[in-house]
């Protein structure tokens, strides 16, 4: 399998969906465990992420790798790919008054490639729905996004409601979209990310951190600010 694994990883890095699908079909026909194929895919997507981080690959390449992952998972598994990171899912959605979802969907696709469990609440999500889902799933990471400036107040209201329900300290809040440090401060969130890949790395880092391991923050496009 190690050769097949290498070939799958290489084909993902080359963003050659046809070749990845062919290799996956051949591996399945040889009786190889679908989960092994998924792992090879994940490694390929992670390498695409590294190339992106080095400035050699671009957003279209990242999106393409996530699309390949999605297509192959459909082929080799009947269900969603298993999460490799344990714990409750990340709660994700576009906040109330905003229906933009392109960035959100890209980030969620990449998160799933990297083994994260995500609960996608969609767009125009009221603060109460985010809070109810966090309570229901016992989640500790909330990702809220928005592309219009009206979203800032919705983000702020969501954080305020978390606080009111006594969930703020146990929940790491990340904002994404048209955001920056000033918006993070206005909203009262913990982190902000404008870069899709940085948002995924950030969540992985936080989850590792929660598990007691040292966080690996190695991108410069988000800020690390401790929860107040």
């Amino acid at each position: 399998m190690s050769k097949t694994r290498q070939l799958v990883v290489m084909a993902v890095v080359q963003l050659d969906e046809g070749r990845v699908l062919r290799l996956a079909k051949e591996a399945l026909a040889r009786g190889i465990d679908p989960l092994v194929i998924i792992e090879a895919l994940r490694e390929g997507v992670a390498r695409v992420g590294e190339l992106y981080e080095r400035g050699e690959y671009f957003l279209a390449d990242l999106i393409m790798s996530a699309e390949i992952f999605k297509e192959v998972v459909k082929l080799v598994l009947d269900s969603e790919p298993p999460a490799t990171v344990q714990g409750p899912p990340i709660i994700f959605g576009t906040v109330e008054e905003d229906i933009h979802d392109i960035g959100k969907n890209i980030v969620i696709g990449l998160m799933r490639c990297r083994g994260l469990q995500v609960c996608d609440l969609g767009v125009d999500v009221p603060a109460a729905d985010f809070v109810a889902k966090i309570q229901e799933m016992k989640s500790n990471i909330l990702c809220i996004s928005g592309l219009i400036t009206l979203s800032y107040d919705s983000m702020k209201n969501t954080v305020a409601l978390l606080r009111e329900k006594g969930l703020r300290e146990s929940t790491t809040v990340i904002i994404g979209g048209l955001v920056n440090e000033a918006v993070r401060q206005y909203v009262g969130a913990d982190y902000w990310a404008r870069d899709c890949a940085a948002g995924v790395d950030l969540c992985l880092g936080i989850l590792n951190w929660s598990d007691g391991t040292v966080p690996v923050f190695h991108r410069r496009t988000y800020n690390q600010v401790p929860t107040v």
Binding site: E17, L59, E67, T149, L150, Y152
Partner: protein, 376 residues
């Protein structure tokens, strides 16, 4: 200080990278207008008279606003609901009455539709696309196109009456952006990797169609300028190789052909184009305005394009919303002093002035022109 030029003269000087009496002031203001004058955004988007009154009121309060770069004519409810390039959700229709209109992109154009472009032309696909996403009949399309020209000409007329220059005589997106919005961004990027030759062939046809559309619109409006929007095919999204294949040749062709026809080009480039700036040096000198939305490093733009391409921008929308008036003043001062140095600069917002911008920030934005915008 005293103005010695008309708005048109000032704008012309800035575009040709010369030094006017002061920096032209051209915010993209329609998202903000309704709330400023106290009407719902629904009324603003559907009631032409109310919208024109709103623009008048803003100009009355801030007469330093001398260049109207409105694209209201394309966003006007009865137009965008019938011939918009993506499905649009409007205030008071799908959204709350005072919401901001928003685009809802989905994969409305299929991969098979490239064959329609190649075999039957882009016009055929566009009309079937409008039918699919808006339910528009051929009569609806004709009516919406006529309404758009009426609104456009009204905007031009009102701007002239106020003593403003009106910036845009025609409007489209880049060919690659046009297809990306119709296909949806993920599907379009997948096409670039999987059927690149077919995409290229389609882009050739779309480019010719868009150039012809610009020329037709310019003939109707009498304003010899073209607004060309580009967001999703910049270096933020595409590698150099893909940029050179799917963005640059079509962008260059559009600009050159329209300039050859005697027009000025406004490249309304949202997203980060910093790594593509050198390409623009290959476009005609003094005929192009680069509109920056604050994602592109406008100070880098100055370093690279000064004296060649006029720069427009870029007070960030987030700053207008959550920042303070002194912060706005500081940022504007820097824009005037650095980007405005030796001319070739149009002062503006980074893309649109947000609906929920603080009024004191908007005031600081306009006041800064009077404080720092003078050359003589």
């Amino acid at each position: 200080m005293k103005e010695t030029m008309t708005a048109e003269e000032r704008l012309t000087a800035a575009i040709s990278c010369r030094v006017p009496d002061r920096v032209p002031c051209a915010p993209l203001i329609e998202s903000y207008a309704a709330r400023y004058v106290g009407i719902t955004n629904h009324r603003f988007m559907f009631d032409l008279d109310a919208a024109m009154d709103a623009f008048n009121e803003i100009h009355n309060d801030f007469p330093v606003w001398d260049c109207n770069r409105s694209i209201y004519f394309a966003r006007y409810g009865p137009v965008s609901e019938k011939i918009g390039n993506t499905r649009v959700k409007m205030p008071g229709v799908e959204l709350a009455p005072d919401a901001l209109y928003q685009f809802h992109e989905y994969e409305a154009m299929t991969r098979d539709d490239y064959d329609v472009i190649l075999n039957e032309g882009f016009k055929v696909l566009l009309e079937s696309f409008w039918h699919k996403v808006h339910g528009s009949s051929p009569e609806d399309i004709t009516e919406a196109q006529a309404k758009r020209i009426v609104v456009w000409n009204r905007e031009i007329e009102e701007s002239k009456r106020r003593g403003q220059a009106f910036l845009y005589g025609s409007l489209s997106s880049l060919p690659s952006d046009t297809l990306s919005m119709m296909r949806s961004i993920q599907a379009f990027f997948k096409d670039l990797f999987q059927i690149p030759d077919k995409v290229e062939a389609a882009l050739d046809i779309v480019t010719d169609f868009l150039i012809a559309s610009h020329k037709k619109a310019i003939a109707s409006t009498g304003i010899k300028t073209a607004f060309i929007a580009g967001t999703r095919c910049s270096g933020q999204f595409l590698s150099k190789k893909n940029f050179e294949r799917f963005t640059w040749p079509y962008l260059k062709k559009m600009v050159n052909e329209l300039v050859d026809d005697g027009n000025i080009i406004y490249l309304h480039f949202d997203s980060n184009w910093t790594m593509n700036l050198e390409y623009l040096l290959d476009l005609p000198r003094g005929k192009v305005v680069l509109e920056c939305d604050s994602a592109t490093d406008i100070f880098k733009v100055k370093e690279i394009l000064h004296g060649h391409t006029c720069i427009l921008g870029d007070v960030p929308p987030a700053m207008m919303t959550v920042g303070s008036a002194p912060e706005i003043d500081d940022y504007c001062k820097k824009l005037f002093q650095v980007v405005g140095k030796d001319g070739g600069f149009i002062f503006s917002t980074g893309c649109t002035l947000p609906m929920n911008a603080k009024n004191e920030n908007v005031k600081a934005f306009f006041e800064s022109v009077k404080k720092y915008g003078w050359y003589f």
